[in-house]
């Protein structure tokens, strides 16, 4: 697996801005604590297969290859001969976070780096390449069966923030943690590595025109994140080499869980129309969330602390329904609607800082963190040039991903600056397929402002 990181905020920032104040930014939640790192990263739970990806993920009513084992197991009944599918994906993640500036409604003091009105976002990119999906399907008279491995999440983030200004009148809090009566957030170095891999089996049966499918997956989860909190002078630029490191937060651990998925697929007698639906249960994990003072701090200046607690991670459940139409043997159109229950990420939400222990006057306001469920719309089309050999298929599509960022709607100005609402994303997708008698090769691209994916898959039938 290859990984690459590029912090755009530091690479492209104007020198004047480098001197400006910094602030962490909001974004969709990853792990379920109020650590700022989680606000700057985002992933979605995309489904496997290059053909699927190129069709904008509109696949529930098609489900016509071995990736159906995960996406809609009912589609396995459409596979007549044993086949395997392997897919390699390259992800380019763009992390968006509040980097610097000053909260709205206040003029900068023009002292030092406090020169920017309004919050400014930083961007950083990480790239990950890996074997995303493999499966084997065996159809028989008694049903169709499959085994698969799917990397649901393979995510890496690595970015730093400069610390934004929160208020004119407040003094400096000693810990640099949002929620203190602090005029400026800490500057931070963040890194995070998350992986969720499913190992599953699926089975499907056809009852007249209706196919029903079921899959059982064992999910393995690992998380390793570290946030280092520095405390620069109030109006000085962040300098990780010389600023004091006051505390660190980590999220780490490995866990596993089982989850089920069930789907259906109906085809009209002439196979022009099809309707599919699925319910995919999300697994639940826990990990260790730690917060502790940096080594070497002077107890006379700052009371040392060390907290450790279990935090949950709920992969959201997904409900989806799709419809496909085939006007000719060469052409297919597909549409899916998925509801992704991102709000489940807030179940058991944890205050990693234990704010009330740091300062009894501060409430973590955990009930004021919000994530909306997402209603995703997927649309795709493909056209096969049947007179061309090998058969060449072009695909295009798109999907709408509503904002599912973790946002804060409480009183705490620090959290409010970090956990902000973000824009919805429109993904544009395209792809090519080449079909021989026993081998199919598919290439797909999925581009949006936050994540771009290149996928290459190969299917072999026996």
């Amino acid at each position: 697996m290859m990984r690459r990181n590029r912090n755009l905020s530091s690479a492209t920032a104007h020198p004047f801005l480098v001197l400006a104040l910094v602030l962490l930014g909001g974004g969709p939640l990853l792990a379920q604590t109020n650590l700022e790192t989680n606000a700057g990263v985002q992933f979605n739970f995309s489904t496997p297969g290059a053909g699927n990806l190129a069709l904008g993920g509109a696949f529930l009513a098609l489900a016509f290859d071995a990736s159906a084992a995960y996406t809609n197991p009912a589609g396995l009944t459409a596979i007549a001969a044993p086949e395997t599918l392997a897919e390699v994906r390259h992800w380019n993640y763009t992390h968006l976070f509040t980097d610097r500036g000053r909260v709205a409604g206040q003029d900068p003091t023009t002292k030092g780096v406090d020169t920017i009105a309004g919050l400014r976002d930083g961007r950083a990119e990480n790239q990950v390449t890996g074997l995303a999906f493999t499966s084997y399907v065996y159809p028989s008279r008694h049903g169709s069966f499959a085994i698969f491995r799917h990397e649901l999440v393979d995510f890496e983030a690595d970015f730093s923030t400069h610390g934004a200004y929160l208020a004119l009148t407040r003094g400096r809090g000693p810990y640099g943690i949002p929620g203190e009566r602090d005029a400026r957030l800490a500057s931070m170095r963040n890194r995070m590595d998350v992986n969720i891999t499913a190992y599953g089996g699926a089975a499907a049966w056809r009852l007249r025109g209706l196919s029903l499918g079921l899959s059982v997956s064992h999910f393995k989860f690992s998380i390793d994140s570290l946030a280092e909190r520095f405390r620069p002078e109030l109006f000085s630029p962040a300098n990780f080499a010389s600023d004091p490191l006051v505390n660190v937060q980590s999220q780490s651990g490995e866990d596993s869980d089982w989850a089920l998925a069930a789907g259906f697929l109906w085809e009209s007698p002439r196979q022009r129309w099809s309707v599919g639906g699925v319910y995919r249960q999300g697994p639940d994990f826990t990990f260790e969330a730690r917060s502790k003072s940096a080594s070497g701090i002077d107890p006379a200046q700052l009371a040392p602390f060390a907290f450790s607690q279990r935090a949950p991670f709920h992969v959201p459940d997904v409900y989806g329904v799709g419809m496909a139409f085939r006007p000719s043997d060469a052409c297919r159109l597909a549409f899916d609607y998925d509801r992704v229950r991102y709000s489940q990420l807030l179940d058991g939400f944890v205050d990693i800082f234990k704010l009330s222990m740091l300062d009894e006057d501060i409430s973590p306001e955990l009930d004021r963190f919000v994530i909306d469920d997402a209603d995703e719309l997927h649309l795709g089309a493909e056209y096969a040039f049947l007179r061309h050999w090998p058969v060449l298929t072009v695909r295009a599509g798109g999907w709408y991903e509503p904002d599912h960022s973790l946002r804060f709607e409480g009183e705490n100005v620090g959290f409010g600056a970090v956990f902000r609402r973000r824009d919805a994303q429109v993904h544009l997708t395209a792809g090519l397929g080449l079909a021989l008698r026993r081998l199919q090769l598919d290439l797909a691209l999925d581009h949006s402002s936050r994540v771009s994916v290149v996928s290459l898959s190969a299917g072999v039938r026996y």
């Binding site: 001969a81 002439r270 043997d329 007179r387």
Partner: protein, 271 residues
Amino acid sequence: MRPAVVITLLGSLLTSLANATAAEPPAGPSCKREPAKTAFTHAIDPYSHRQWKEAIPPLENAASLCPSPGGPWSIPSPTNPLVTMAYVPFFYLGNSYLGIQDFPTALRHFYLSTCVGESQRHGDKLGELSTKTQTSRAQVPTKDRMQSQPRFSDGFSAAQQQDWQRAADKMWEALLVWKEDGKSMNSYGRWRDPYLPRFRLADALFHLGCYREAAEQLDRSLAKDSPAAEVKAEREAFARLRPECDRKIREGYPDKEICQRWRCLLQQPGT
């Protein structure tokens, strides 16, 4: 006399009458009479109520258990012992498929009704067979290539599962809808294969042990001479199957009932 006694006597009389009309025929060579009767009985009620989709599975079951009883055979209705139905499962299947507007399958069953002699056994009740055969033939959609795709796909899947009878049936129907052209067609899932239903019919007939019929279809298939790269697998299979058919024919093999049926079916118009 008490009413209950009258009813009992009347019931006994009716049952006797019903049994008399359901006279057992001599069984055909592969007729499993009792299970066929049970299956056929299950079809009577939905069929008489024009519930075609419900009638088809038990009728197909009956047709496979006893395609050709040795003589006329009528079976009483389970709900009305005074009503009997002629055991003509292929004709009823044709009617049922006609009812759901599946014309190629209807036509195949009307042809089979003729082939297995249903009209000879129950000619008085099958007066419409000729008309319905013509109606079905006229309605077969022969102008849209895609109409043959579901049948080609179904036959392809059946062959993969070694259900050779179904594979042959569906390839025959595909051929009826759109003649073999060797061009790419979606066979199942995302896969595409050359549209060679006659070759695949021949392959199924070979596996059913109908070697003469298989050889005849192989000789008529485009797979024999097509130079196209995508037909390479079929060309190789042809080169293997055709001599094997000749060898089996030379050595001699039992003329199965199913082969007799296929011989008849393949002589019908349209194929």
